[in-house]
C-alpha cells in the first residue's frame, strides 16, 4: 500500500461522494461510509509498517514526499476512525438538510487533508494539506449560516495568520538549508545558530498555537465549535484542532537532534517553558470561562481549549526538561481528548437532533429517561474529561501531573489540577442541565436517538473505558513515538507504569473498584426495596412547585459567578475585536485616498514624479 494511494482514495472519495450525491442520496451516504471505513481498515492493516515515498515529481523544484511512521500512524488512525464515526453519525443528523452533498464531500476532504498533513514528509506538502484543511474547515464551519458566518470568519482569519507565519517559517528553513524534507531539516537544524532556532520555534509556535488554540490565540475556537454542524464539530474538536499538537511534535522532532545529543539549546528549553506556561494558562482560564456558558457546545468548546492546554503543557514541558513521561502524557492526552470530546459532542448532537437543534442548557433537562445511550456517552465523556480513574483521560493527566511534580514544577501542576476542578463544575452543569433534573413537558415524548447515532457513541464510550483500563495499548505506540522523537523510553506495561517515584496500576484500581462496587451493590440490593416514583413527586418542604416547568438549573453557579464574573471576561477576544475594529477603521481611512476628484489623482501623479526627482536631486540615494 503506497501512501499516495491512500491519499488518492481519500481525496478521490471526497469527489466521488459529491458526484454520487448528484445521483442519489443513498448512494452518496453509502459511498461516504464505505470510503471512511476503508481508510480505517487500511490504516489498521498498516500498523507497524513504516512507509516512505516521494510521490510527486517536483513542485517548483521541491520533492514532495510522504511517509508513515509511528507518529503519523498514531494520528492517522485516530483521524480516520473519528472521521468514520462522525460520518456514520452524520447519516441521520444531516438527513433532510440542504447541501448535504457538499457537506459529505467536505467532511471527507477535511479528513483527507488531515491525513495528508500527518503523512507528509516534507514541509511544503505539509503546508499544502494544512491550507486545504483550513479552507475546507472554513466552509464547513460556515455551513449553518447566520451566526456561523462570523465564527467562520474568525476562524479563517486567525488560521490565515497562522498559515502565513508558517509559510514564512517553512520557506526560511528552505532558504537556509535548501531542503524541505523533515528528516534532513532535523539534521541540519542541529548546526544552526540558537537565535535562528528560536525564530523557527516562535514562528511555528504561532502557527500551531493558533490551530491548537493556545491561550492568547484561542479566540476563534469557541464560536467555531459552537456554530459548526455538530458531527463536524466532533471532527474539528477531536482531531482537526489537534493538528496543532501534531505540528508541535513535528517541531520537536526537528529539534530532536538537540535533545538527544549535546543537551538542550537554552533557547529551545526556554521556548518550551514558555509553551508549558502558556499551556497552564490555557488550562485554567478557559475552564473557568466554560462554567459561565449556557450553551452546551460553547461549554464544551471552552473545554476543548482547556484540554488543549494539557497537551501543550505536556509536550512543552516534556521537551523543556527532556522528560518523556510528560511528552507521552501530552500525546496520549491528544488521543484521549479526541475520543471523549467527540463522544460529548455527539451526545449533544443526538440531543440536538431530537429536540430540533436546542443546545441551550437552561431549557433542557431530564433527558436521561428519553435518551439513555446519549446519557451514558455523555457521562463517560465527562468522566474522561475530568479524568476520573478508569477512564482514559485519567491516565494521561496522571502522567503529566507526575512528571510535573517529580521534575519540581508544582505550580504548573497546580494549574493543571485546578483546571480539573473547574472542569468538574462545568461539566457537571452540562450533564445535569441536559440529562438530569426535570424533564420539560415538551420533551416528554422524545424518541431515543437513532441507531446510527448510538453506534458511534457506543464505540467511543467503550474506547474511553478501554483506554482507561488498559492504557498500555496506545501507550506502546506512544512510547515508540517518544523514542523516535529522541526521548528516553518509558517503562510501559499494559496496565500503566512502574517507576521509583510512583507507579500506576490501572488493573489494581479496576479490581478494587469493581470488587468494591459489587459489594456495595450487593449491600444495596439486600436492603429494603425501594419504590420508583414519578420524578416530580418529590419533597419540596411544603413549597409549591409548579408542575410544568421549573428551570432551577438556570444560573447553576450563580454564587460563584457573582464573585468571579468580573475576572472571567475574555480579554483576549475583546482585544482582538478592538484590533479588528481598528484595522477596519484604518482601512476606511486609507480608502479616503481615492477622493474621486480627478484633480487630486493627477496631483498624486505629479507628486510622485516630483518626489522622485527631488529625492534624487537632494540626497541622490538611487
Amino acid at each position: 500500500m503506497k501512501p499516495q494511494l491512500i491519499l488518492l482514495i481519500a481525496f478521490g472519495g471526497a469527489f466521488l461522494t459529491y458526484i454520487f450525491g448528484k445521483i442519489s442520496s443513498k448512494l452518496r451516504d453509502g459511498a461516504a461510509v464505505a470510503i471512511s471505513l476503508a481508510l480505517v481498515a487500511i490504516f489498521a492493516c498498516l500498523y507497524g509498517r513504516p512507509l516512505q515515498e516521494s510521490f510527486y515529481w517536483g513542485f517548483l523544484g521541491l520533492n514532495l514526499s510522504l511517509r508513515l511512521d509511528a507518529l503519523s500512524w498514531f494520528f492517522a488512525i485516530a483521524i480516520v476512525s473519528l472521521g468514520a464515526l462522525s460520518i456514520i453519525f452524520s447519516l441521520r443528523y444531516m438527513r433532510d438538510r440542504e447541501r448535504t452533498d457538499f457537506y459529505y464531500s467536505m467532511m471527507l476532504m477535511v479528513n483527507a487533508a488531515m491525513l495528508g498533513i500527518v503523512l507528509s514528509n516534507d514541509l511544503i506538502s505539509f503546508y499544502i494539506f494544512w491550507e486545504m484543511m483550513s479552507w475546507c474547515t472554513f466552509l464547513l464551519i460556515s455551513y449553518n449560516q447566520h451566526r456561523a458566518l462570523d465564527a467562520g470568519m474568525k476562524y479563517i482569519i486567525m488560521s490565515m495568520i497562522g498559515s502565513v507565519a508558517m509559510l514564512a517559517g517553512i520557506l526560511s528553513l528552505y532558504v537556509s538549508f535548501d531542503t524541505l524534507l523533515i528528516p534532513q531539516i532535523a539534521s541540519s537544524l542541529a548546526t544552526a545558530s540558537p537565535g535562528y532556532v528560536l525564530f523557527v520555534l516562535v514562528i511555528f509556535g504561532i502557527a500551531f498555537g493558533i490551530k491548537n488554540a493556545i491561550m492568547p490565540l484561542h479566540t476563534w475556537l469557541p464560536d467555531s465549535y459552537a456554530e459548526a454542524p455538530s458531527p463536524f464539530t466532533a471532527v474539528l474538536s477531536g482531531m482537526l484542532t489537534r493538528m496543532g499538537v501534531y505540528g508541535l511534535l513535528l517541531i520537536t522532532y526537528v529539534i530532536g537532534g538537540m535533545i538527544g545529543g549535546t543537551g538542550l539549546g537554552s533557547n529551545v528549553s526556554k521556548f518550551n517553558y514558555v509553551l508549558a506556561w502558556l499551556g497552564a494558562l490555557t488550562i485554567v482560564v478557559p475552564t473557568f470561562i466554560a462554567m459561565l456558558q449556557n450553551d452546551a457546545k460553547q461549554l464544551l468548546a471552552w473545554h476543548g481549549i482547556g484540554q488543549g492546554g494539557y497537551m501543550v503543557l505536556g509536550i512543552g514541558f516534556g521537551v523543556a526538561t527532556a522528560n518523556s513521561l510528560a511528552l507521552a502524557g501530552g500525546i496520549f492526552h491528544t488521543l484521549n481528548h479526541a475520543i471523549y470530546i467527540v463522544l460529548l459532542f455527539m451526545s449533544v448532537a443526538a440531543v440536538q437532533y431530537r429536540t430540533g437543534g436546542v443546545r441551550d442548557l437552561n431549557s433542557l433537562g431530564g433527558l436521561v429517561a428519553r435518551m439513555p445511550v446519549a446519557f451514558v456517552g455523555a457521562l463517560l465523556g465527562i468522566s474522561g474529561l475530568i479524568g476520573l480513574p478508569l477512564t482514559n483521560g485519567f491516565v494521561s493527566k496522571w502522567m503529566i501531573y507526575k512528571a510535573l511534580i517529580i521534575e519540581g514544577h508544582p505550580f504548573l501542576a497546580f494549574a493543571a489540577l485546578i483546571g480539573t476542578w473547574g472542569t468538574i463544575l462545568s461539566v457537571y452543569k452540562f450533564l445535569h442541565n441536559m440529562y438530569l433534573g426535570q424533564l420539560p413537558e415538551k420533551y416528554k415524548h422524545l424518541e431515543k436517538s437513532p441507531f446510527s447515532m448510538q453506534l458511534p457513541i457506543a464505540v467511543l464510550s467503550s474506547a474511553v473505558v478501554l483506554f482507561g483500563i488498559l492504557p498500555g495499548i496506545p501507550l506502546r505506540v506512544i512510547n515508540k513515538i517518544c523514542t523516535w522523537l529522541g526521548f528516553s523510553s518509558l517503562d510501559v506495561t499494559i496496565w500503566g507504569f512502574t517507576s521509583e517515584t510512583g507507579t500506576l496500576n490501572t488493573i489494581n484500581l479496576l479490581a478494587a473498584i469493581v470488587v468494591v462496587s459489587a459489594v456495595v451493590w450487593v449491600l444495596f440490593h439486600r436492603a429494603a426495596k425501594s419504590v420508583v416514583v414519578a420524578q416530580d413527586d418529590n419533597y419540596a418542604a411544603g413549597a409549591y412547585v409548579p408542575r410544568d416547568k421549573y428551570h432551577y438549573t438556570a444560573g447553576f453557579y450563580e454564587p460563584l459567578f457573582t464573585m468571579l464574573r468580573p475576572y472571567l471576561r475574555d480579554v483576549v477576544d475583546e482585544f482582538y475585536t478592538a484590533l479588528a475594529g481598528a484595522v477596519r477603521k484604518s482601512c476606511g481611512a486609507v480608502r479616503r485616498i481615492y477622493t474621486g476628484d480627478v484633480g487630486n489623482y493627477v496631483t498624486y501623479i505629479i507628486l510622485f514624479l516630483a518626489s522622485l526627482i527631488l529625492v534624487q536631486l537632494r540626497w541622490r540615494p538611487w
Binding site: 476520573l388 519540581g408 517515584t501 444495596f524 425501594s530 453557579y557
Partner: protein, 298 residues
C-alpha cells in the same frame, strides 16, 4: 496473600467503624459544647441499621448508580491510604490517584441527586461543588507542597520519609501547609461553618432531601468514610503516619476533636463568605509553603 485479602476486606470495615464513631462523637461533643446532652455515641449505628430495613423512594436508575459510584469511590480511596502499616493499594498510582478517586464521591452524589429533580438538591449540589472548588485550591497546593517536598507521589513513601526525618509538620514549609490543611478540614468534611450545602433548615439538607432508607444509609456511610479519609490523609502526610493502627487512630482522634471545636464554635457561612475565606488565609499559607518548597528544591 491471605493477609492481603484480609486487609482488603477488614480495612474498609475498620475505616467505616472509625468514621461512624466519629459521626457519633461529633454529635456528642458538639452537644456538650453547646450545653446539651446529645445522642448516645452509638446513635449513628442504630440509625444505619434502621435505614437498612426501611422502605425508600427511588427516582430512577441513576439515582442508585450515582450513590453506588460515590460509595465505591470512597471505599477505594480508603484502600489507598496507609493505616498504620496497612495499605492495600500502595503501588497503584499514589496521591494523584487518590485525588481523582476522591472525586467519585461528590460526583456520584451529584449524579444521583441530579436524577432526583428536586430544586433543593440542585441548590445543594451547586453549593457543594462551589465549596469543593473553594477548598480544593488550598488542598491541592498543600498536596503539591508535600509531593514536591518529598519528590514522590506515593503516600507510603511520604510516610516512610517521615519516619527518618520526623513529622512533616515540624519543618517550616510543611508546617504552613499543615495549618492550611487544618483550616480547610471542616470545609472538606462538610462541617459547620461550611455546611451551607446541606443546610437542613434552609434547603432541607440539600442533596440528601430525596434520600430515604438505603439511599440515606449509603449517603451516611459515604460521609463517615469521608471523615476517615480526610483525617487519615492529614495524619499520613503531616503527622508521620504511624507504625501501628492504634497510634494512628489516636492521632486521628486528636485532629478530629480539633476540627470539632471549630465546628461547634462558628455559625454557618454563606457560600460566598466561605469561598472568600477559603481563598484567603488557607490559600495564602499553602502558597507560601509551596513557594518555600519550590525555592528550596531548586
Amino acid at each position: 496473600m491471605v493477609g492481603r485479602i484480609l486487609q482488603f476486606i477488614l480495612y474498609p470495615l475498620v475505616a467505616l467503624a472509625i468514621g461512624v464513631f466519629f459521626l457519633g462523637l461529633a454529635r456528642k461533643i458538639t452537644a456538650r459544647i453547646q450545653w446539651r446532652y446529645g445522642p448516645p455515641l452509638v446513635q449513628p449505628v442504630i440509625d444505619m441499621i434502621r435505614l437498612f430495613y426501611q422502605k425508600s423512594v427511588s427516582h430512577g436508575p441513576v439515582f442508585a448508580v450515582g450513590l453506588i459510584m460515590s460509595l465505591a469511590g470512597s471505599i477505594v480511596v480508603v484502600l489507598f491510604l496507609p493505616f498504620g502499616s496497612i495499605c492495600p493499594l500502595s503501588g497503584s498510582g499514589g496521591l494523584l490517584v487518590v485525588l481523582y478517586v476522591m472525586l467519585l464521591a461528590p460526583m456520584g452524589i451529584a449524579l444521583s441527586g441530579g436524577q432526583g429533580a428536586n430544586p433543593n438538591i440542585s441548590i445543594g449540589i451547586s453549593r457543594k461543588l462551589i465549596l469543593a472548588l473553594g477548598y480544593e485550591v488550598p488542598f491541592l497546593l498543600v498536596l503539591l507542597t508535600v509531593m514536591t517536598h518529598y519528590n514522590t507521589i506515593s503516600i507510603v513513601q511520604v510516610v516512610e520519609a517521615q519516619r527518618d526525618i520526623g513529622w512533616s509538620i515540624a519543618s517550616l514549609p510543611l508546617f504552613l501547609s499543615g495549618v492550611s490543611y487544618l483550616l480547610i478540614l471542616p470545609a472538606m468534611l462538610g462541617f459547620r461553618p461550611f455546611d451551607v450545602s446541606t443546610a437542613p433548615q434552609e434547603i432541607s439538607s440539600g442533596p440528601l432531601v430525596e434520600y430515604g432508607g438505603k439511599y440515606l444509609l449509603m449517603a451516611t456511610i459515604e460521609h463517615a468514610l469521608l471523615l476517615f479519609i480526610d483525617i487519615a490523609l492529614f495524619v499520613n502526610l503531616f503527622l508521620g503516619g504511624a507504625g501501628n493502627p492504634i497510634i494512628f487512630f489516636v492521632k486521628m482522634l486528636i485532629v478530629f476533636v480539633l476540627v470539632l471545636f471549630i465546628h461547634a464554635a462558628f455559625p454557618r457561612l454563606r457560600i460566598e463568605q466561605a469561598i472568600r475565606y477559603l481563598w484567603k488565609w488557607p490559600t495564602a499559607l499553602a502558597l507560601a509553603g509551596l513557594i518555600i518548597v519550590t525555592i528550596g528544591r531548586s
